[in-house]
Structures are given as structure tokens and as C-alpha cells.
Symmetry: C2
Subunit: 476 residues, 2 copies
């Protein structure tokens, strides 16, 4: 056999999380660096994950919310940004522009988000209450010219996302659906991504530029950092007033619309990798894989025919999607390593002894525990094993979050607990300035979301009356 | 009833094709103009069509060819363009660039096509014959800074497309799959878009910048113009040599890969609109619609309850996706007009008399012919009607193409026949310079694809020995 040494992961997740993450992305062929600094390539194994997210979420928003997909241009005239002042200020530093042939031409931005370009059209399309609610979503690329260090999937100058943008006649409808989308995100993180999240409202300092309220789902990563995984913004009437989105109501009066916007991006792929993968390589929740299993034959020259015959028969009898690794030039051990690295959920081993015993060996990717299964029960066992794996991955994520949720009543204990890798609830006044001081003095600790409203407590930093308890952490 | 006048199409397709097309796009809410000149918005009714094309084609290329999807960056360093000279020259005029903060920085292009950015990675990823064939595809936005008048879907500064890029060990494999993809395009145009195409090779003048051979499928539009609907390029080893895409073969020698690339874009939506729609509005092939039918109730106050009850019962019993238009504030006539404008394939009318006769009226969008159908046969009749409509649309497109395919032996008759709205086969020398003269002297006639190899004929323009007969036309 023309054996080649498999090039596995050479650092441990527990020892050098950053290098480990990068190796997983590169060696499992999930992503690669691209030539323009801060950009990246999503390779097929990464795009597969994204496609499953796209398909799942499209179905959810279409069936449950009646949202329709559309596509608005990448190009946004600079005057649009100026219409909503907070929004403009929030995005200004990271907007990339198209090179002009002539200085007199208006500058054209590459979308850092699409509120402005979409709402300009909404103002033309919406006339009457009959046109509402208007619920659109788009899947597209987004450009933000980051100056900080980029990290694959987590911070890059271009990424893919969905952005939903809805208009309602009433504030209560708008707010209700803002939260409904957030619930959908939480459900998707659990059911499809197998990640437990904290759900809540952002403080004023972390709110989306131009929104009344920003709600978030935050994942907790194995390195003790939090990751903002999805946000849903109640925009109130801020943009409606800036863009003139009005409708004639049943009362025959003119009103401004109420709006929300919400999105998740390819950074979810980063969250999935960090949450589940291990020192052997990628671990993917089964729902995000095209191929759920690989059959690896174990044979010598004189047993090849028998084993291949049985393996093919086995494959033909399984409903789930998977494949038979019939490559002759690699040993079983090499194949085990390769499919562990790439994150195929189940490995099925079949050799002469197994055939004699009318069994196969099933090995789930996450536990690596071998289990003999009667050959005529394989189909059902695959379903069971995939379900069990999904549950294990989620439970592990939930356990990680639960055991790292702490609370603090003083600034020192807050910093100390966050610095030892926790997400910490503490009483907070809610003021932007105070939050800025916390971030500065702690070297980067930020609020992640509001925990609960609290009374009779004082802010851990300024000592003023606390508006609520907030989760603090270090975030990607 | 709060009746509103429906705003239908106000020009005839036969009288002012250009304005008619624009009205269909706008009034059927397929698309809209966007603020940056030459850009457009794809509204839900247009995006729906694109989504069906995406889903269909993804399945085809994945199942039949083993192509996997990926995503490469929008941003391409300028030095990449310079690597393949013809390619660089071909795209230079329409490349848009990112504004630089500093003149010393390398210029960054917005992808006008992705050969260069993808092949830079291919050169790193491919090592051995075992890595081949490598077959990737991406769905993305493309930027070409057109200076000619833009036309929705047909020419815009940003559009959506798929681009497949494959590498093979052998030239024959590469060529074979280049043609296989073209066959898949032809099949999709027929089965999904209901459009008949001419299929063939492009001449040197119309070849993709950097390719050995370009193959095309060309649709013939009702205004007598042709539309390039999809292309598949055999790139040979041109890019492999420019980017250093080499592999160690079974012979342990180093070889350059053989490559192809192929794509279709959102201009297909334009082809669909032009081919099938009429003076009442949009006509869509059923396979491109989410909703295949609408049930319109015909009632007065005293029959509303009965009719709504029966309509809902009817809807519940139909397998195909459709909806019941239960809006009380619009008359049946208004609803007929709206759904004709929007292009719902079938209308089902139900009123008290129909209910008494245990029937409904089915009206296919394209013929507008009413037919009574027994209520318990509706489900089967819908399937039949949708199939028949699909066949009629394709047959009409095929008939249009067949009756406008002409041939000419002189330059004058070529020009005259093309100018009267035909696509004309004529003997041609194959030279770029001669083709340039034809284009210039005729005010824009170009070759569309090679018809057949011919002997003993002379070029209609220069009189030299003809290399083949070529289809000439005016193209979008």
C-alpha cells in the first residue's frame, strides 16, 4: 500500500486554543486563508455546514413567519448612511468604498449591513396598511473593513449572512416578532448546531447602531470566551422616520412603520468548530453533515472480495446518507484518522471476523467508543446513534455554560471570575460611560446580555443603583 | 368593497417590447431599480425564480457530476489578473476596485469572475493525481462596471450567478465534462425554464478571455434578439500554466491540470420573462413557482359562507402548493387581474353555481381558457394542467426558434434577415478581424454559435474559404 502519513492536528485544544482552532479550519478543509489580508475561503466542508443552516432557517422563516427572500444591491450611496445618524456613526470606521473615476461622483459603499438600501425601497413600496407587515430576508455577502486581527469565520473583512428586515403597522407586533425570531435562533442553535446559548437584551453600549432594543443569543466557548451568535433588533420608528416609511392606516391617517432586523452569519461555523471539535479534528453535529457515516473495510488480499461484497450490501441497505471508503491504497488506520479529522459522525468498521459474527462495529465520532451491532440492526442503530450524539453534543455545551455561569457583587470578583474563564452576572447601572470604564480598566470585559432586573443592588463599578444584573464576559 | 383599480401593463409586447419588459419587471414585482445607477433589486417574485434554479442546478451538479459548493472572496488582488494575459485584457475595462487609503497599497478588485482567485488556491491544494478531478462551484454576486445602458436582469453592474471550476488530470475528461455541463444547461432550459436553445461553440471573437473553447446555449427572444443563457469553457492548460496548477501523475512526473469553468446567471430571469409573459403580465413556467394555483371565490353576502367553506375544503384536498384568496375588499375581477399580472400558473374559480354543479372552473395562465372540472377530479386535473402548460410554453419557444432560424449565403441577405428578427446561419471564415468588420458594418450583428462545419463555401463577408457555418444575430 502506498501509505502516506496523515497530517493530523498537532496542538491540543486545552493547551493552545487559538492554534488548535486554526489547524482544525485548515486541516479539516473547512476554510483557508485568501490572498487579500483579512479575507478567507469557505471550502466545501465549511460551505456544507452553511448550506444546512440556510436550508433550515429558510424553512423556519418562510413557514412560521411568512418571510420571503429577496436580493438588494451590494452598492449603497453614501448619502443613505447619513440619514440615520447613530447608524452612520456606528458603521463609519469599517465601511469599504468603491474607487471613483471622478472625485465629483458620489461615494459608493460596499454594504456593511443593508438597513439603508432596503428601507429606501420600503419607503416607495409601502403605501397602505394592506402592504403590511412586509417581511423580507436576504442571504448575501457583507463587507466590513476590520482593522483588528482577523480570525477565520469569527472576524473577516467579508462574510456571509442572512438579514431579515420587517415593517409592521403596530409597535407591539414588531416587538413580538423581534423576540419570536430570537426564539427561532435559540431553537436552531440547540436543534441544529447543538449549542446552548444565553438569550437576552443588550445594554445601550452594545446595542445595534440605530436600534431601540437589541436582543442576542450568546454562545459560551471552551476557551471561556463568549460569542455573539445571532441578534434581533427592534428598530422602533428610527429608520422609518429617517427614510420616510409611512402608511395610510385603517383610520385613513398617515403613520410611520415599526421595524425590526435580525441576522446570523458564517461566524456560526466558527462557533460549531470551537464548541464540538477535539484533538483528533472536526466534530460536527449530524444535522450539519451530508454524509452521516463512513464504512471502512478491514481486509487482507484473501478477504477483500468477501468484505467489499458485504460492505456494499450494507451500504445499499442504509437509508441515511453515507459512503463506503473502498480506496485500496490507504490502510484502515489511515482512513480512521482521515474521517476523524474531517468529522464524519459515525464510522462503521467491517472485517472478516465481524462478517462471521454477523455484526459490524459502530464508532461515534465524539466518544470514539466501539460498539458491536448486529448487521441486520444497523439501519436502526445509525438513527439511534446519531440522535444520541446530537444529545451528547448539546448536553456538553449546556453543561459548559451552566458550570461557568457565575455571579459577582464587586468589580474585583467580576474581573477575577471572568479572567478565569467564566461568564459573570453582576449588578450594573446600565450607563454607557460606566460600561466603557469597565471595559477599559479590565482590558476588554464587555456586557453580553441582561440577566435579570434586580432591585436594591448597586452597580459593581460606579456604586449607583443597579438597573439590572448583566452577564459580563470576554467576547470574540 | 374598497375597490382599487389594478395597475396593469399599459403597453403591448408586440408594440414596444422594451417598455413592456420593464413594466412586467416592475409591476409584477419581480424587480426594481436601485439607487446606484446600473444596479437593481431582485424582489421576492424574482428571487423565487432564482431559488428554484439554484435548487435544481445544485442537485444536478452534485448528483450527476459530484461537484461541491464553496465560497471564495469577493476581493481579488490586482496582480492575479495579470497572470493570464488574455483574461486580464478581456476583463480590464469593467473591473471595479476598492478605494485605497494609501496609494502604495495593492489595488483590490471586486470579482468580475473568479478564475484567478480560485486557481491561486487550486495551485496550493492540488498535489497528486489523487486530488483530481477537483470540482467546485460557487453561488455569488459578480461585479462588472458596465458603461452601456443597463437593463434589468440582462445587463447590470451587479448580478448573481453560479460559476463551476474544475480541474482534471486529462484533456479528454476535461473536454467531455465541459460538454456534459452544457447538456445539463440545455436540459434545465427545457425542463425548468421551458425555453428552447441553440447549442454550440463560440467563434474566436466571442470566446471567453483565456479559454481554448467556449460553448454556449443561446435563447431566441420574441423581439428577434438572441440571449446567451449559459456558457461552458474548456480552458485547457492556460490558467494551469499561469497559476502553476500541477500534479504528480501516476507516472510520478509533474503535469499541468486541465480545466473548465461554466456558469449561468440571474439574466435567466430576464429570458424567462421575455419568453413567456404577455400583455396581461408575468407568465412563469410552473416549476419556477412556489404557488401553482390560486382559488378565487365568487360570492355575494348571502353565499359567502357556503363558498368560503367549499373553497377551504377544496384547498385542503389539493397536494400541490397554492392558496385561497379570501380578501373581502377586492372583487373577483380585481383578483383575476392581480394574479394574472403576478403569473400564478392556474386560477381556480368557485361560486354557488359551481358548487351546485359539483365543479370548479380552472383557468391556465397562458391560454386564459376556462374549463369546468368536477370538484372531485381537481387534484388530478391540476397536475395535468400544469404539465400541459409546461409543454405549451416550451413548444411555443421551440416553434419561435425553429421558424426564425434562417440561412444566408451573402452578407446582404444575412444583414437583411437578421434585421427582420431572425437568427441566421451563414458560411464564415472564422477570423476575428472579419467578424469585427461584420459587427461594425451591420451595426452590431455578432456570431452566436457555430452551426456546422461546411465545405466548399465561402465566407459571406471576406469571400475566403469558410471554416464553418455560424449563427449570426443581434444579442442582448
Amino acid at each position: 500500500m502506498a501509505e502516506e502519513k496523515t497530517i493530523g492536528i498537532t496542538v491540543k485544544k486545552s493547551e493552545d486554543f487559538h492554534s488548535w482552532y486554526e489547524q482544525i479550519c485548515l486541516k479539516a478543509e473547512v476554510a483557508d486563508f485568501a490572498p487579500v489580508s483579512g479575507t478567507m475561503i469557505i471550502r466545501p466542508r465549511g460551505y456544507m455546514v452553511w448550506q444546512h443552516i440556510v436550508d433550515h432557517f429558510n424553512k423556519e422563516i418562510n413557514d412560521k413567519l411568512g418571510v420571503k427572500n429577496a436580493y438588494f444591491p451590494l452598492f449603497i450611496p453614501s448619502r443613505f448612511f447619513e440619514k440615520e445618524k447613530e447608524h452612520a456613526e456606528g458603521f463609519a470606521p469599517e465601511v469599504a468604498w468603491v474607487e471613483r473615476k471622478d472625485e465629483k461622483e458620489e461615494r459608493i459603499a460596499l454594504r456593511p449591513t443593508s438597513e439603508t438600501i432596503m428601507y429606501d425601497s420600503y419607503a416607495r413600496w409601502i403605501r397602505s396598511y394592506r402592504d403590511l407587515p412586509l417581511r423580507l430576508n436576504q442571504w448575501c455577502n457583507i463587507v466590513r473593513w476590520e482593522t483588528k486581527d482577523c480570525k477565520m469565520f469569527l472576524r473577516s473583512r467579508e462574510f456571509l449572512w442572512q438579514e431579515g428586515h420587517c415593517v409592521y403597522a403596530r409597535a407591539d407586533e414588531c416587538h413580538k416578532e423581534t423576540l419570536l425570531v430570537l426564539d427561532n435562533y435559540e431553537e436552531m442553535m440547540k436543534e441544529l448546531l447543538c449549542i446552548a446559548v444565553l438569550k437576552g437584551e443588550k445594554t445601550a453600549a452594545e446595542r445595534f447602531a440605530g436600534a431601540l432594543h437589541t436582543f442576542t443569543v450568546e454562545g459560551f466557548m471552551p476557551d471561556g470566551k463568549t460569542l455573539q451568535m445571532g441578534t434581533s433588533h427592534d428598530l422602533g420608528q428610527n429608520f422609518a422616520k429617517a427614510f420616510g416609511i409611512t402608511f395610510i392606516g385603517k383610520d385613513e391617517e398617515q403613520h410611520y412603520g415599526h421595524q425590526n432586523s435580525w441576522g446570523v452569519s458564517t461566524r456560526l461555523i466558527g462557533a460549531i468548530i470551537m464548541s464540538h471539535s477535539d484533538d483528533k479534528g472536526l466534530v460536527l453535529p449530524p444535522g450539519l453533515c451530508d454524509d452521516k457515516f463512513v464504512i471502512v473495510p478491514i481486509y487482507k488480499d484473501d478477504t477483500k472480495e468477501l468484505v467489499f461484497h458485504e460492505a456494499k450490501k450494507l451500504l445499499a441497505g442504509i437509508n441515511e446518507q453515507g459512503f463506503f471508503d473502498d480506496r485500496d491504497s490507504y490502510s484502515p488506520g489511515w482512513k480512521f484518522n482521515e474521517w476523524e479529522l474531517k468529522g464524519i459522525p459515525l464510522r462503521i468498521e467491517i472485517g472478516p471476523k465481524d462478517i462471521a459474527a454477523k455484526q459490524v462495529i459502530i464508532v461515534p465520532r465524539d466518544t470514539g467508543e466501539k460498539r458491536a451491532v448486529p448487521i441486520d440492526a444497523v439501519c436502526a442503530e445509525i438513527t439511534t446513534e446519531l440522535g444520541a450524539m446530537k444529545k451528547r453534543l448539546y448536553d456538553k455545551s449546556l453543561h459548559r455554560l451552566a458550570t461557568h455561569k457565575k455571579s459577582a457583587d464587586t468589580f474585583d470578583s467580576l474581573v477575577s471570575l471572568v479572567n478565569s474563564g467564566n461568564i459573570v452576572s453582576a449588578p450594573f447601572c446600565g450607563e454607557k460611560a460606566c460600561e466603557g470604564e469597565i471595559k477599559f480598566e479590565s482590558g476588554g470585559i464587555t456586557t453580553r446580555c441582561i440577566d435579570e432586573h434586580t432591585s436594591n443592588k448597586n452597580c459593581v463599578k460606579c456604586g449607583k443603583k443597579a438597573a439590572f444584573s448583566v452577564y459580563f464576559g470576554r467576547a470574540y
